[in-house]
Amino acid sequence: MTEIDQASKIGEIIEAYPADQRFALAALQDMQHAFNFIPEEGLAALAEYLGCPQAQLYSMATFYKALSLTPKGEHIIKICNGTACHLRGAMNLATELKRDLGIEPGQTTEDGAFSVELVNCLGSCALAPVMVVDGNYHNKLRVEQIPGIIESYAEGVTDHD
């Protein structure tokens, strides 16, 4: 995405909302969705549009886990570490992912393909341990299945049902 594309996209996202501070989070979420992160220019433009300090938006962007200030990977892997998943070995999944991708939870691979996150509960405790990749649930996982799943996303397979 070129700089001009980004600027026009930012403008588009921002102007979809009325200039009121209560829409700050919604606009930030849209930006996160469009760019996979929140660019500094986006934060500044939104602050100017809403008439609130940039520091306040920065505070928001750093507070919510769903918002990121550094580019996230193309595929986002969420490992559930809720009580049920934790007991059924969610941390083993994280270790396996580290072996395959070389990154800890919270990091992004160098080629920008994958981000790994630890999340607290996905509400699917009966399916523990659960891992969600790009919104697709992979349930009752065993560590041996991980490399295959990673590979399928790396190859761009979209059908995961």
Binding site: E40, L43, P53, Q54, A55, Q56, Y58, S59, T62, F63
Partner: protein, 251 residues
């Protein structure tokens, strides 16, 4: 005219208006309640340091409240030094002191009203800030809004966006002056002041040579449409008084 109430604080009868904050009533009657995150500069208080807790007895029921933000709605009896309060306040104090071990003021206060026996707590290395957010409130109320709390949980801190020198900061030191634990650091030489990673030029009065602040803060204080003053307040008043004297001399 608001309804008047009579309440008892530590055995002292105090009259107050309905809706007044308990802390204000107590202070007016010479009763000391310790506070950290409260500044008289603001109308709304944060009540996040929790040091100002007191016990309030209303209709025979006792509860612990923060005096800073507790509006008096009915007749009540207040205890600021009950056994329960002293104990709970000592716990809060000890926690805050371990949060900001490098702050001399916190150490002093903890010595004064803390309690020993909290050795198992681990202090945060080199920290002075108790994250009360008074500095952020001060900066926002000035309309600069250069700093805010960033991140969350154990990583939470006060900073400028991206940790960069802020274009909105005017170097007025309001944040540093309002800080209850002296946590905001700045350096000052004969001609410059550095705060939040940004260096500012200092402005001096053209008449008496006293320090007026940074050039940015003087301009900000003057307002957008006004002329930036070149003399300090005292000199301006003196000049005005001299002019008045000349004008009304023969009246």
């Amino acid at each position: 005219m608001n309804e008047m109430l009579t309440i008892t604080i530590d055995g002292v009868e105090c009259t107050c208006q309905k809706g007044e904050y308990l802390y204000d009533v107590a202070t007016r009657n010479g009763i000391w309640i310790p506070v950290l995150c409260r500044s008289d500069a603001f109308d709304d208080h944060r009540a996040c340091c929790r040091i100002c807790i007191v016990e309030v007895e209303e209709r025979g029921r006792r509860k612990v409240v923060t005096a800073c933000v507790y509006p008096i709605e009915q007749e009540c009896t207040v205890y600021t030094k009950s056994e329960k309060i002293l104990e709970e306040r000592a716990v809060i104090m000890a926690l805050l002191a371990h949060r900001a071990p490098d702050s001399e003021r916190m150490a002093e206060m903890n010595k004064f009203m803390g309690r020993s026996g909290f050795d198992r707590l681990i202090s945060v290395d080199g920290e002075k800030c108790i994250l009360c957010g008074l500095c952020v409130q001060a900066c926002n109320s000035l309309g600069t809004g250069a700093i805010s709390t960033v991140l969350r949980g154990t990583d939470k801190k006060v900073d400028t966006p991206y940790g960069n020198p802020s274009a909105f900061c005017v170097g007025c030191l309001s944040c540093a002056n309002v800080c209850p634990t002296d946590a905001i650091e700045y350096t000052q030489t004969d001609t410059t002041r550095t705060i939040w990673n940004r260096e500012f030029d200092l402005a001096f009065c053209e008449e008496c040579g006293s320090l007026m602040g940074t050039t940015e803060s003087v301009r900000h204080a003057a307002g957008e449409d006004s002329e930036v003053p070149s003399v300090c307040d005292a000199c301006r008043k003196k000049k005005l008084a001299d002019e008045m004297m000349q004008t009304y001399r023969y009246v």
